[in-house]
């Protein structure tokens, strides 16, 4: 490393500490202050640390609503991500392996899914007619529908790296289509699968808009919604609001630490080919 690289790095580090770290430190400071200190909005070292007390208070607020929200968000995330992985891998597989005029129709659907903003009120209308409005499983299906396109794209390009010979060897070994898919293809998709699980989990866990529209109601509250609801409730208790922010920032942070590589792979999958 040259001197120039060293000093540029140090300069960049200072600037980005300022821009990218200060807001997170601010969250932390606010979360551990008491009510009065927090209301000053100062970026200052907390004089007293109320980490545990604030934590307990946030968790207990509104009859443990945050725990319920964590539970709901987890159910929705796990459910939707499982469906996305299985169903979109199946579509990506057919799309890559079989060539016919249906493919362009499937492609059109995938592209529409990536570009078209969902029509919210008509979606509510459909959900109501199906009895899925305000239900957790309805939310799971919505998140699945919205997440399929990206996952199909990623799986399709990954499947193109798996030689067709493997399918054919399995056919000669007597495997049925489902057996080929589940016993040969799906295990080989592991890197792409991990990427999709991580990226989609974070997206769905952090999603605010869709639960806001499709999952109203106290018993269905999700993590992002509690944060939003608490905003009006905790106007005078910013320390608790920021404790809540801190709590919902932790899951993505943990995921990021463990799956940094897969996230990068997933997020950049479109970059090189364009």
């Amino acid at each position: 490393m040259s001197r120039r690289q060293l000093w540029t790095g140090i300069a960049a580090l200072c600037v980005s500490l300022f821009i990218f770290v200060v807001p997170f430190v601010f969250i932390l400071f606010m979360a551990v202050k008491d009510k009065r200190a927090a209301s000053k909005l100062e970026f200052s070292w907390p004089t007293e640390w109320h980490l545990w007390a604030n934590l307990i208070e946030v968790v207990e607020a509104r009859n443990y609503m945050l725990l319920l929200a964590y539970f709901n968000s987890t159910v929705i995330t796990v459910g939707a991500v499982s469906l996305i992985v299985i169903f979109s891998a199946m579509v990506g597989y057919i799309l890559q392996r079989r060539h016919s005029r249906w493919n362009s129709l499937i492609w059109a659907g995938v592209m529409a899914g990536l570009m078209v903003p969902p029509a919210v009120v008509p979606t509510i209308w459909v959900l109501q007619n199906l009895g899925l409005f305000k239900t957790i499983h309805g939310m799971v299906l919505i998140q699945t529908a919205y997440g399929l396109s990206f996952a199909i794209l990623l799986f399709r390009s990954f499947i193109s790296t798996i030689p067709r010979d493997l399918d054919e060897a399995a056919i000669i070994d007597g495997a049925k289509p489902l057996q080929i898919f589940f016993r040969v293809i799906l295990p080989l998709l592991k890197p792409a699968t991990v990427t999709i699980i991580v990226v989609q989990s974070i997206a769905i866990f952090n999603d605010f808009t869709n639960p806001l529209y499709y999952l109203p109601g106290k018993e269905n509250v999700t993590v992002q919604l509690t944060l939003f609801n608490f905003q009006s409730q905790f106007v005078s208790q910013l320390n608790l609001l920021f404790m809540n922010i801190l709590l919902i920032t932790i899951p993505p942070l943990i995921v990021y630490i463990f799956f940094n590589r897969q996230i990068v792979a997933g997020m950049t999958s479109g970059a090189v080919k364009g």
Binding site: D165, I171, I172, D173, A175, R183, V184, L188
Partner: protein
């Protein structure tokens, strides 16, 4: 007992006809090699026999039973792929036993069969490894092992040696020939390498542009090629094929003579300067620019005392020429 019979088989991909009416009989226990340049349809023909491709018309019979509409797994065939197609996520044992486990055979029986195949192929020590941890030759043997445990009536090989280096390739040729002798099964083998065809086959099928050019034993094809294509394809260095006035003078449209069937004599009918020499040790290959017949290749003794630029005269040996 397994005879493979192809009757008027054709295959089109869209508007392109890649197999143009093939009739062929492969006898029980025969080692039959499909050979031809790339794009001649030899791999497609193999895949049609395996059932991985449908026929457009015509039928395939194995032991007199029409299997044209049958699933690959029901045809009693096994196939070894050019890429080996080993399942990367399974161990050698699981790879070899994959088909048996799909067929829901008892575990003990699978184990016994896999162990026997591994023993035969000297893979016993590698059964718990993943394919990634094997050498090219070992992977090749696993692919063969996977074929053996199916106990097929017909083995199909799709250019199985083309990913190996030259030394290993000649060793595997011998191993495959031994395996054929040991199992006595019918084997159909696709290659673009005429050396593999000549050294291993009982019967060679030369394919060109979706049609059979000639079927016969290696020496039949060498001695009596029916067309300039077969003549040029079998034998190395390639047969000299002369057209135009030289051929007309010999009373045919193409006149062929193998490099090893040209003798160097003072009173040869063709003469000219040596353009290039290849010293192979036992042999010398001489590239000669003749006035009468243009460029010809001559194969002669290793210690021939000539150099580039010398003038030589050559003569085709009597009875060794081919007229088409």
């Amino acid at each position: 007992m397994a005879r493979v019979t192809l009757k008027n088989v054709t295959k089109s991909f869209g508007a392109v006809e890649v197999i143009k009416g093939v009739n062929l009989e492969v006898d029980d226990g025969e080692f039959c090699v499909f050979v031809g340049p790339s794009g001649c349809g030899k791999s497609t023909l193999l895949r049609i026999i395996s059932g991985l491709e449908d026929t457009t018309s015509g039928s395939i019979e194995i032991d007199g039973v029409d299997v044209s509409g049958e699933e690959p797994s029901k045809r009693g065939i096994a196939m070894v792929f050019q890429s080996y197609a080993l399942y990367p996520h399974l161990t050698v044992r699981e790879n070899i036993g994959f088909g048996l486990s799909l067929a829901k055979l008892p575990k003990a029986e699978i184990k016994a069969k896999v162990d026997a195949a591994a023993e035969k192929l000297q893979l016993t020590d590698y059964l718990d490894r993943k394919p990634k941890a094997l050498s090219g030759g070992q992977r090749q043997r696993v692919a063969i092992g996977r074929a053996i445990v199916r106990d097929p009536k017909v083995f199909l090989f799709d250019e199985p040696l083309s990913n190996l280096d030259a030394a290993l390739r000649s060793q595997m040729r011998i191993e495959l020939t031994d395996l054929h002798a040991e199992l006595g099964a019918t084997m159909i083998y696709v290659t673009h390498d005429q050396v593999e065809a000549m050294t291993m086959a009982d019967k060679i099928v030369v394919l060109n542009a979706g049609k059979i050019e000639q079927v016969g034993s290696p020496m039949e094809l060498y001695n009596h090629p029916v067309s300039p294509f077969v003549a040029g394809f079998i034998g190395s260095p390639k047969m000299n094929l002369l057209e135009g006035d030289v051929a007309k003078g010999m009373g045919c449209s193409t006149y062929g003579v193998r490099p090893e069937h040209l003798e160097i004599t003072e009173d040869g009918i063709w003469g000219g300067k040596v353009r290039h020499l290849e010293r192979l040790g036992a042999d010398t290959v001489v590239y000669l620019d003749t006035k009468e017949a243009g460029s010809v290749v001559v194969r002669t003794v290793g210690d021939l005392a000539v150099k580039v630029g010398d003038v030589l005269r050559v003569r085709p040996m009597a009875g060794k020429e081919h007229k088409f």
